[in-house]
């Protein structure tokens, strides 16, 4: 669907319907997906970007997101 309509920036994740951010109570997974989205927001250079996220349902492992470095990397962006 996203391939046809093309939003300005879109990310696809192969999770079941009704669980776009992943498994219930899996905070690290939810934060990881959010990090990907906020990263795409900052790094996409042209409209129509569709990023295929690599995470597998119940088969990927997640670590605590390092938001400190994420914030620093924002400062490196040219506004």
């Amino acid at each position: 669907m996203s391939e046809k309509i093309l939003a300005p920036r879109a990310a696809f994740v192969g999770f079941p319907w009704g669980a776009s951010f992943g498994e219930p109570k899996n905070r690290l997974q939810q934060m990881t997906i959010l990090r990907e989205l906020f990263l795409l927001l900052q790094t996409a250079k042209k409209p129509g970007v569709l990023e295929d996220l690599p995470y597998k349902w119940r088969r990927s492992t997640y670590e605590e997101v390092e938001w400190d470095s994420f914030i620093v990397s924002q400062k490196d962006q040219e506004y």
Binding site: M1, E3, P8, G22, E23, M31, A44, P47, G48, I71
Partner: protein
């Protein structure tokens, strides 16, 4: 199409989807279902809107726009009986009481989101990010659509399509960035 309303076909499908077997079928056949749904979309976007990233996240106001069929207790639920659903939207204040958030949407399994709202509407995660100053703040209002198959004109027709109404509300709320989360 009154047959949908009269026989409450979508409600029946919704009840089946919410059983364990129904949810398993939904999960297993998601890809072909998605292909079928996408085959009905004739729109192509030759002129994709674009706003460059400018304002640092840490200074920004962030909102969620969902298609999860969310509404607050006491408000009108989304119409789940019409053949094509409805194209309206509901406003969800970002400080909503989780106990009062309801779902009227018969096209996806609800067990996971009932277990943890953040799998579809990541309110707790965004609050944590605001607390950690990764994002500036949450918008006062989030917005939800429900199931609205084939109601393209009602959604995006100019000037009063519901998508345009929500866009204006986001501008009124001075939102910088929106997470648009499909169900």
């Amino acid at each position: 199409m009154n047959i949908f309303k009269n026989l409450k076909i979508w409600r029946t499908i919704g009840r089946i989807t919410d059983t364990k077997i129904g949810a398993s079928i939904s999960d297993a056949f998601r890809k072909p279902f998605n292909k079928i749904a996408a085959s009905g979309v004739s729109a192509t976007n030759d002129d994709i809107p674009w706003t460059p990233f400018k304002k640092p996240l840490a200074e920004s106001t962030v909102a969620i726009v969902s298609t999860g069929g969310f509404y607050l207790e006491g408000e009108e639920p989304f119409d789940v009986d019409s053949a094509f659903g409805e194209a309206g939207f509901r406003t969800i204040p970002s400080d909503f009481d989780k106990g009062k958030l309801k779902i009227a949407h018969t096209h996806y399994p609800h067990a996971r989101v009932n277990n943890d709202i953040n799998v579809l509407f990541p309110i707790d995660r965004l609050k944590e990010l605001a607390q950690a100053k990764v994002i500036g703040k949450l918008s006062p209002n989030f917005y939800s659509f429900g199931f609205g198959g084939n109601l393209i004109k009602e959604f995006i027709g100019q000037p009063d399509g519901s998508a345009h109404q929500v866009s204006q509300k986001l501008l009124d709320d001075e939102v910088d960035y929106v997470l648009m989360v499909p169900a």
